[in-house]
Structure formats: C-alpha cells, structure tokens
C-alpha cells in the first residue's frame, strides 16, 4: 500500500473512532446505555471475520483447482486473519454480555459458533504443523478449511436463525440511523485494514517459505 493510502486509512479509521466515541448516542433501554456503543465495534469485527473466512475458503478452492502454492499461502493468511477477528468478536461480545446479561459467557448459539470457528482455525493450524511436505500440506489444509466452511455455518447461522427462539442475539437486527452511520464506515475501515494485513502477511509468508526452502537446500548440500 502506498504512503498516501496508509495515511488515508489512518485518517478514515481515526474519523470512524472519533464518531463512535464522541457522536454516537448512548442506547436507551440497555443495562449500561453508554456501553451499547460497543456494538459498533463488535458487528464490524464479526463481518470482517466472515470475509476473512470466505477468503480462506476461496483460496482453498483455488489451490485445489490450480495447485499453485501461492493460493495456499493466501488461504493460510486468510485463516490467520479470520482467527484474529473471531477472537476480537468474542472479546467485544463477552464484554457486552457481561454488562447486559451479567455473565461473560452465556452459551448463546452465535457466541458458541464464533468460539467453534476459533477451534476450527486452531485445528487447521495444528493440521498444517503436522505435515512437512508443502504440496501435501497445501492440499489437505485446503480440504479441511473447505470442509469446515461448509459445515460450521449450520451452527453459526442456520440453527440460531431458523431453529432456536431463545438466542440473546436478535434474529434480524434493525439499528437507528446514528448507529448505522457508525457500523457501516467501521466495517469499511476494518475491511481496508484486512486488505492491508492480507497483502503484507502474504508477502511475509512468501519470504518465510523462500527462507525455509533455502535452508533445506543448504542442509541438503552440506549432507
């Protein structure tokens, strides 16, 4: 990203945060009306986690179709970012839940679903660590990330929306204009961050793999 784009990202994010902290009104009817503003961070984090999960799955498909190792790197980086944003979604959600419902953890289906996604990505990283051959690692990791991507929306979206009535999350939330004016720009800001992190991490991962290959070649040469 160019220095101008980085500057623009900084200004835009600072603007979003200023609007959230200075302008968004406290939401009446909540246990702590001031803390309801946390929703404007929680929802964009969940949205970016979903986008990153789709990126991981998309590049998993791309690897299985073209067998290009750079797709595997992109899928891996997507999974790492999805893990980070799932974690942030869990933290912001738990803080909100403690104030609103009295407990950090309520076994709400959506809350549990994000925790399950964290476990899925942890399992994905464990699987990658257990395979040495880069091509086999790429193929099996792509299969696992796709398999989990097909089955986990059941827990995160289908079951809570259509089968469970007692969820603490609203099924189809409707926000006031002042909240929508904070949530949508924040989602754009975090997506911009996602693109930046993604491109940086892909470059770093390619360098890491090149170093690992060089080390392997030099070890082979010495032997």
């Amino acid at each position: 990203m160019t220095p101008v784009a980085k500057g623009a990202l900084f200004v835009f994010t600072a603007g979003c945060l200023s609007y959230i902290f200075l302008k968004v009104p406290a939401a009446q009817g909540f246990a702590n009306p001031d803390l309801a503003r946390l929703v404007t961070m929680h929802l964009p984090c969940a949205y970016v986690a979903l986008v990153a999960a789709v990126i991981a799955a998309w590049h998993g498909i791309a690897y299985l179709r073209k067998r290009d190792l750079s797709s595997d790197i992109k899928s891996y980086v997507g999974a790492k970012i999805a893990f980070l944003y799932c974690f942030l979604t869990t933290i912001t959600g738990s803080m909100f839940a403690k104030v609103q419902w009295g407990s950090y953890w309520n076994w709400d289906p959506r809350q549990t679903a994000v925790a399950v996604l964290l476990l899925v990505y942890a399992a994905y990283f464990t699987l990658r660590a257990s395979i040495e051959d880069p091509e086999r690692r790429a193929a099996l990791s792509a299969v696992y990330v796709l398999f989990a991507s097909i089955l986990t929306p059941m827990l995160g979206y289908v079951i809570p929306t259509f089968f469970i009535d007692q969820s603490l999350h609203p099924k189809f939330a409707k926000f006031d204009l002042s909240y929508r004016m904070a949530i949508y720009p924040m989602a754009i800001a975090l997506t911009w961050h996602l693109v930046w992190m993604f491109r940086l991490s892909v470059r770093a991962e390619k360098v890491n793999q090149a170093i690992a290959e060089l080390e392997l070649t030099s070890e082979g040469g010495m032997a």
Binding site: L64, T112, V116, L119, V120, A122, A123, T126, L127, S130, I131, E132, E135, R136, A139, L140, A142, V143, Y144, L146, F147, A148, I150, L151, T152, M154, L155, V158, I159, F162, F163
Partner: protein, 235 residues
C-alpha cells in the same frame, strides 16, 4: 458399478473388523469403562424424585454423546490408517473410484458408530435411572446423528492418515466440525427422554426441527465429503 464397488469396500471393512475385532473390542471396553466411571461418580447424587430425574436426564443426554464422540475418535480413525500401514492404499487407488472408497469406509464407520450407540444409550440411561418417553424419536436422533458423525470421522480420518501426527489429531480436527451434530444430538436426546415435555405432547410437534437439523447436517457432511475426498485420496 459404483454401488458394487462401495458395497465391496464396506463388506471388506466389516469382514476385516469382524476377524480382528480391534476397533470393536477397544470401543466396547472404552464404553464399558466410561459407564462404570459414570455410575461411580454419580452414585452419591440423588437421582430419584422430580428434581433428581431432571438432573439425571440432562446428565444422560450429555454423557451419551460425549462417550460416542470420544469412542469414535479412538476407533474410527483406523479405517484409512490400516490401509496405509498394510500398503493396500495403492491397490485401492488403482481399482476403485475415490468416492466409492469413501462411501464404503463411511458405511463401515457408521455401522460401528451405531454399534457404539446401541451399547452406550441403554447402558447410560439404565445407570442413571432415566426412562425414555419417546423411544422411536430417540432411535431417529441416534441414526441421523450417527450418519452425520460417521461422514465427518471418515473424512477427517482420511486426512489424519496422511499426516505424521495421528494420535490426538483426529479428535482435534473432528470435534469443532462435529459440534452442530453434537448440540442437536444432545437436544434431541433430551426431548426424546421427555425432558420438559408434558406426557401428552408429541415429540414431532415440539422437536421435529431437531430431526431436520440432524438430517441437513448429515446431507451436508456427506455431500462435502464426496466433493472433497478426491483431493485427499489422489494427492
């Protein structure tokens, strides 16, 4: 032709298992030991009376599926590991389509899982003094959950067979993906036992959605596995 190949693989799986009885013996022993531990650990909890029965139902529903998950993680990973250890994978690759291999192994694994359920469900209910009010509903829940779980364990078992760390990896890879089936299985078992359902209420009226969840999960797990297995098998 595909069906013939699938049935041949499933038949081979069941015959090999019947001859060695390795998975059957280890799973049976695991289930028996875990039920003995449950009996000992709950011996001092008063499970009689209205409150006690409610606690007993909740413990039974959760324990049944915890035992089934752990028993499956112990026994179902062997299907592909055995092929790799015996060096028969190449022969299978040459003579049988990938999806037929998966389907055959899936049938074998699901039957084994159902066998585990046949032991676990009545023994756990018996030990905890739980009476099942809707037995046919419980059978439907067990069959649908076993099909979904069988599909997941077959695919993750194939993944694990290709790695160097086989020990705990099957459970680590399978459990997060299995959670939707696990949650619905526990819910369905609770409703079939009659937890918080008045005697007159029919299971399907109040809990038919759980069967739909389990069925959709099983269909998705089978479809995803059939789509992706070729990439594992021919890699």
């Amino acid at each position: 032709m595909w069906v013939k190949e699938t049935l041949a693989i499933a038949g081979k799986e069941l015959r090999t298992e019947w001859r060695s009885r390795v998975a059957l013996a280890s799973l049976g022993l695991f289930v028996a030991c875990s039920i003995a531990l449950v009996a000992l650990s709950t011996a001092r909890i008063p499970l009689n009376g209205e409150g006690g029965k409610e606690i007993g139902s909740q413990i039974a529903a959760a324990l049944i599926w915890i035992q089934v998950c752990f028993a499956s993680a112990m026994g179902l990973g062997r299907a592909f590991v055995v092929e790799s250890e015996r060096g028969t994978m190449t022969a299978l690759r040459l003579h049988t389509r990938a999806t037929a291999v998966w389907a055959g192994k899936f049938i074998g694994n699901t039957l084994l899982l159902l066998g585990v359920c046949v032991i676990t469900v009545p023994m756990t209910c018996g030990v905890l003094g739980v009476t099942v009010k809707h037995p046919f509903a419980l059978i439907a829940v067990v069959i649908l959950a076993a099909i979904g779980m069988g599909a997941v364990f077959t695919t993750t078992g194939a993944l694990v067979a290709q790695t160097s760390a086989r020990g705990g990896l099957l459970a680590a890879l399978s459990f997060p993906v299995l959670l939707p089936a696990f949650v619905s299985g526990v819910d369905g078992t609770l409703r079939a036992i009659g937890w918080r359902l008045s005697a007159s209420s029919a299971f399907l009226d109040t809990s038919g959605g759980i069967l739909v969840q389990l069925l959709s999960y099983a269909v998705l797990a089978i479809a995803a596995s059939l789509l992706l297995f070729d990439a594992i098998w021919n890699d």
